[in-house]
Symmetry: C2
Subunit: 415 residues, 2 copies
């Protein structure tokens, strides 16, 4: 494992770690958690910890793809042909008849086609008379049938280790009779909001405190991940931070903090963490918003770790921190080492250069198969109102002036 960059001294602007290096460090320096077996329906959003193989053929048996009639015929059938109707097989029933040439049975979607079946006529092309059917259209052999094992065969891999259990993945596994799966444990996360300045009401606000966006933001971000976290508040007091972290480091996989992580006189997150034995992996990222971000690890005696992700207190930095860094950390803890899925799009306007890489909240539009990006107003780190419109978080490389038509990368934000 290579140390991508050394951290820089207090307040130094030179040598800040890049966004990509910071993300790479999170991925390579994070030990994945253990695994657990879960009922499939409780595993939405989790990652498979082992390959899943099929124990069945799907379909198990040759079956009808439609509601109609299984027919035995030697060759293709012309319109007007008649067949003797000898019975009915419903889905979920077994086929205990065998068809001879010239015979048909009523059959339903998914029901086994009986021995002797050469084709299936969907009911829309069939007229039914007493004890016989008449086809209204010609019909080929092997029409509207599904062969045994056509989709999945016994032993075949259904889903690979690392597969995210999306709605579709869970449906597909359920269809193959999978009811439980081995997944990585979801990290146990303590969220710590630092700061003295939180307003509870308009009077507090009028007296100079501010309303806290960070606790609600983080609470609902985890809700959107179907996860529950504990959110704690701590004042800008060194002993309070120390006592809290001393307790949390032994109980949680992740301590996620907001605020108190810069070089100000009341920024106790980093010094306290270092005092408690956390080792800094990086501090300060060459980005806007969110420069004074901290990532550190505390190794417990049992060789497990508590990771500290210290986000700056500005709500825009917290927003970016959750979408980019927290997401990467949670994935790494669950064995996911692939980089985030950045989309690419074309910016519709110029942007001035900035010494740091920026994450701008943008409107992403699909126009005739092209992705167009337009920056929204009010991008400063204490402003969030443009998140009502934003559906993309777009990376602007450091030190480059951008012209309309340039290609940029970003993440789609769920609206």
């Amino acid at each position: 494992m290579n140390q991508v960059v050394m951290h820089t001294g207090c307040g130094a602007e030179a040598g800040l770690i890049s966004v990509d290096d910071a993300l790479a460090l999170i991925t390579v320096r994070t030990q994945r958690l253990g695994t657990e077996q879960l009922p499939l329906q409780q595993a939405l959003g989790r990652y498979l910890a082992q390959d899943v193989h099929s124990k069945i053929n799907l379909p198990l048996f040759a079956q009808s793809a439609v509601d109609g009639y299984a027919i035995s015929a030697i060759a293709e059938i012309d319109a007007g042909a008649e067949f003797a109707l000898i019975g009915e097989i419903r889905a979920g029933q077994t086929a205990n008849v065998a068809l001879k040439n010239g015979q048909a049975v009523r059959i339903f979607t998914g029901a086994p086609i009986p021995d002797g079946t050469t084709t299936v006529a969907r009911q829309e092309i069939v007229n039914v008379a007493e004890q016989k059917i008449v086809l209204t259209s010609p019909l080929k052999l092997h029409a509207d049938t599904r062969d045994a094992g056509e989709e999945i065969s016994v032993g075949q891999i259904l889903a690979a280790k690392g597969q995210k259990l999306s709605v579709g993945a869970i449906a597909a596994l359920s269809m193959a009779g999978i009811s439980h799966c081995e997944v990585y444990a979801y990290p146990k996360i303590a969220v710590v909001i630092t700061g003295d300045e939180v307003a509870e009401n308009i009077d507090d606000y009028s007296a100079g405190k501010i309303f806290d966006a960070n606790a609600p933001l983080i609470a609902v971000w985890f809700q959107s991940q179907l996860a529950h976290v504990e959110i704690m508040h701590v004042t800008d007091d060194k002993n309070a931070v120390l006592n809290l972290f001393a307790h949390l480091k032994d109980q949680y996989d992740v301590i996620l903090t907001t605020g108190g992580v810069s070089v100000g006189d009341y920024d106790f997150v980093r010094p306290v963490a270092l005092d408690l034995g956390f080792k800094q992996i990086f501090w300060k990222v060459k980005q806007k918003p969110g420069k004074p971000m901290l990532f550190a690890e505390y190794k417990r005696e049992d060789a497990s770790s508590c990771y500290l992700l210290g986000l700056p207190g500005n709500p825009a930095a917290v927003y970016v921190g959750m979408q980019i860094y927290t997401d990467t950390l949670l994935k790494a803890l669950q064995g996911q080492t692939e980089p985030l899925s950045w989309f690419s799009g074309v910016i519709t306007h110029d942007l001035k250069a900035d010494a740091r890489e920026r994450f701008l909240r943008m409107s992403v539009q699909f126009e005739q198969g092209a992705v167009q990006l337009t920056s929204l107003a009010k991008q400063q780190s204490h402003m969030l109102s443009n998140l009502m419109q934003a559906n993309g978080l777009v990376r602007i490389p450091a030190g480059q002036s951008i012209q309309a038509g340039n290609l940029l990368h970003g993440l789609l934000i769920q609206q």
Copy 2:
């Protein structure tokens, strides 16, 4: 309100309603539900039922944008300039000093700048000596300050009626001191899985029953929407369906069914619904998968309605039905009348024409700012395994053969 199309007779292929007409009918024929007040953090994914206006200026007061020093100076400052350091103001404290020309106070991000401040120096460009500071870089007037009301002013609209409460929207509203909001009620939904053929284990499966993908699919789809629904099973028995619907129609806003909605002899959903007084809004959509889809309404004596969305039993039809039709219905019930957000992309290969519009599961790739679509194998309506890879559900217009390079529309699927 115009009736877009009349329903067609049993089994008729002519006159099927189009996908767009079906979606338009769901939107125009659905009465939106009432509203409720919720704590903001319990409203993720819900839709605002009224505009939200700001009760505050944000920021309330002129403040520092950084950790550094508030300075009083008549003009731009040269590197090397010195200022007398007269105190400190933390975030959350009030500024009870006033600066005179040549003076500075230590200040932190978000703290009020005192009267007399003309600019703020970030700490990175300041050397501190006893009782004075020395600037290491030149500094303009009004640097790193935030003006009162710069982001939001009292009375300004923060979010409009209909706004979806995304993570970002909730964070932005929290920052403006909004703690509760009026949202549309989330519909009360009964899910009814019809059919006799469900396997509980491999023995059942070997005996000809099939594993049910539909109940897990629907359960986790609603989980992904942060909603809880009751899932019931009913056998293909007319009286069982009748008794169940008779009870549900008075208790639920929506009855969502899978299976039993075609023209087969055991397809009781539609006849039972009509017997119970449901009025058909449409039946059968010119699409693949999912043709025999039913949408009907039961008007209760109190003028409220129970909507029946009857999806076919094939799991692919259920998957499309959830992503396209159930989503549209839930939005309509919550006052959202905008069409779904279809993206556009360019297909990388030819596709044969089909009489019905198709929804194909595709891989959506972003390449150099263009969206490229590639159809996945195993698209049949009884197959789901390609949902491990699919990240788009793409519409192929009816009756058109598609060439590589053609523009198509679809929905992004969350992976």
